[in-house]
């Protein structure tokens, strides 16, 4: 019973059995998080460095909590205020930290493929916490966990991913994860934000948010990524929210109990109105809670694969 991979670089490399193992293990860690002492001693011999070259609140805190609850030692690295600003390369940064006997690296970087590059140069296990516009595997895993909690087995369930698909690593990881679990996936957004030929990944495409909501069981709503767009891909946030934003009146018109999800942070009033974000159908805060349990599972399963070479 172990993962088929040494690193978690992307859902693309995972087998469906790997995903199921992670979700099953995460269930047990979620129980640990309900105890008075929310800690288990399993990783007390492990040091983990959080190498975050990009801004993050949620993901970094989530990983840090997961590491601490496994009793691992954690070191945080933020790019600003480090030697990276003096021009140190990625490999040098990582090798220097690893020379201090750090066992695992959790990395977020703005360049697609940075963790894959690093995996070829260092021995430690690497967890991708987001690389460029490629993947964000732990987000997809916690999304799948949250959906499974609410809907049971995801085979045949209808999941909609709505928003800036083109620039979203959460979207790509979700697509890989959900298709591997047998769910039916549709992506929805303005045509400028949906990559051409995305159907080759096994998803349907729609430009109509109402029809999409009428079809789906779950709507995973993405943030409009203002910081990733250099050219104008839609005329204004207001127009986006009018045509693609999910408001309470839209949900009421669809007359169905859809589960609403969002990886955060939410642009209230743009992709989701406040009353939808805070409604009973929204499991956004459950996603955050589940994130710690899922990350504990990932770290536990990867750490247990260490080679016993001295």
């Amino acid at each position: 019973m172990s993962l088929s991979v040494k690193h978690l670089l992307g859902i693309k490399d995972l087998l469906p059995s790997d995903i199921e193992l992670i979700l099953k293990t995460a269930e047990k860690f979620k129980e640990v998080l309900q105890r008075p002492i929310k800690k288990v001693p399993t990783l007390r011999d492990t040091s983990i460095v959080n190498l975050f070259f990009e801004n993050s609140t949620r993901t970094r805190i989530s990983f840090e909590l997961a590491e601490k609850r496994l009793s691992a030692d954690t070191i945080n690295f933020a790019a600003s205020g480090s030697s990276v600003s003096k021009g140190e390369t990625l490999i040098d940064t990582a090798k220097n930290i690893l020379s201090m006997k750090v066992d695992m690296v959790v990395m977020r970087h703005s360049a697609t493929g940075a963790p894959h590059f690093l995996a070829n140069h260092i021995n430690a296990s690497i967890v991708n916490a987001g690389d460029g516009i490629n993947e964000h595997p732990t987000q997809a895993l916690l999304d799948a966990f949250s959906m499974t909690e609410k809907l049971g087995n995801l085979k045949g369930k209808k999941i909609a991913i709505i928003g800036d698909i083109m620039h979203s690593r959460v979207a790509l990881s979700n697509i890989y994860c959900l298709t591997k679990l047998g769910a039916e996936v549709i992506v929805c957004g303005p045509p400028t934000l949906i990559p051409k030929h995305i159907e080759t990944l096994g998803v349907k495409v729609s430009y109509d948010v109402r029809k999409t909501l009428e079809w789906c069981d779950v709507a995973n709503v993405l943030r409009i990524q203002l910081e990733r767009q250099n050219k104008p891909l839609f005329s204004s946030l207001r127009e986006y929210s009018m045509y693609y934003g999910i408001s309470k009146s839209l949900l009421d018109a669809v007359k169905k109990d859809i589960v609403i999800m969002h990886p955060g942070p939410i642009n209230r009033g743009v992709e989701l109105s406040s009353d939808v974000a805070d409604s009973k159908q929204s499991i956004i805060l459950d996603q955050v809670e589940n994130g710690v349990a899922v990350r504990m599972a990932v770290l536990y399963l990867l750490a247990g694969k260490k080679d016993n070479l001295i």
């Binding site: 288990v40 001693p41 990783l43 247990g304 260490k306």
Partner: protein
């Protein structure tokens, strides 16, 4: 695979163990029973059933404890164990705890069980009940308070307890070469 004990003998032993527990704990007013995952819970299910049959008016709190994250062999190169559920719907602080496992071998599982238990609170007293005691195979100083049977086997032999609910019949078997 050699059969050590069959259904009828097992049943007599389980009854005797239940009576021993009643002898020491009387009305179980401050006592709780906790079975260790994964296979100790089959034994603790049976013991709890027997106790409730013998003492129908008394409610004895019963829980299950998984020790996977407290094991001392996490990085020793073997494959990872699958965690099972932990279900303790009551506090253990100030209580007399009866930990139950099917086979006591090296004692490391019980050691892990004690660590896991102590993360839930401070029991007044902890006792250990096992069905099979492999007496001379201990690697840590752990001894049982209630024993079903003592079995002496050599190291590369494994003793397994089979249950009607799971493997079709109640039996204790020894697996492995002589």
């Amino acid at each position: 695979m050699k059969s050590l004990y069959a259904q009828q003998e097992l049943d007599i032993t389980l009854t005797r163990l239940a009576h021993q527990l009643i002898e020491n704990h009387l009305d179980f007013s401050d006592t709780v029973i906790i079975g260790l995952q994964p296979r100790g819970v089959f034994l603790s299910d049976r013991i709890h059933q027997k106790l409730q049959q013998l003492l129908p008016e008394i409610h004895i709190p019963y829980g299950k404890l998984d020790i996977t994250f407290y094991r001392d062999d996490f990085n020793s190169g073997g494959s990872l164990h699958q965690a099972q559920e932990t279900q303790l719907d009551f506090s253990v602080s100030g209580k007399k705890v009866i930990l139950i496992d099917d086979v006591l071998y090296t004692g490391r599982s019980i050691r892990a069980g004690l660590d896991a238990l102590l993360d839930f609170g401070r029991p007044e007293h902890v006792e250990l009940l096992v069905l099979i005691d492999r007496r001379f195979s201990r690697e840590v100083p752990i001894q049982p308070d209630y024993v079903g049977m003592s079995v002496d086997v050599i190291n590369n032999q494994k003793v397994k307890v089979l249950w009607k609910e799971h493997e079709g019949k109640d039996e204790v078997v020894m697996i492995g070469t002589k």
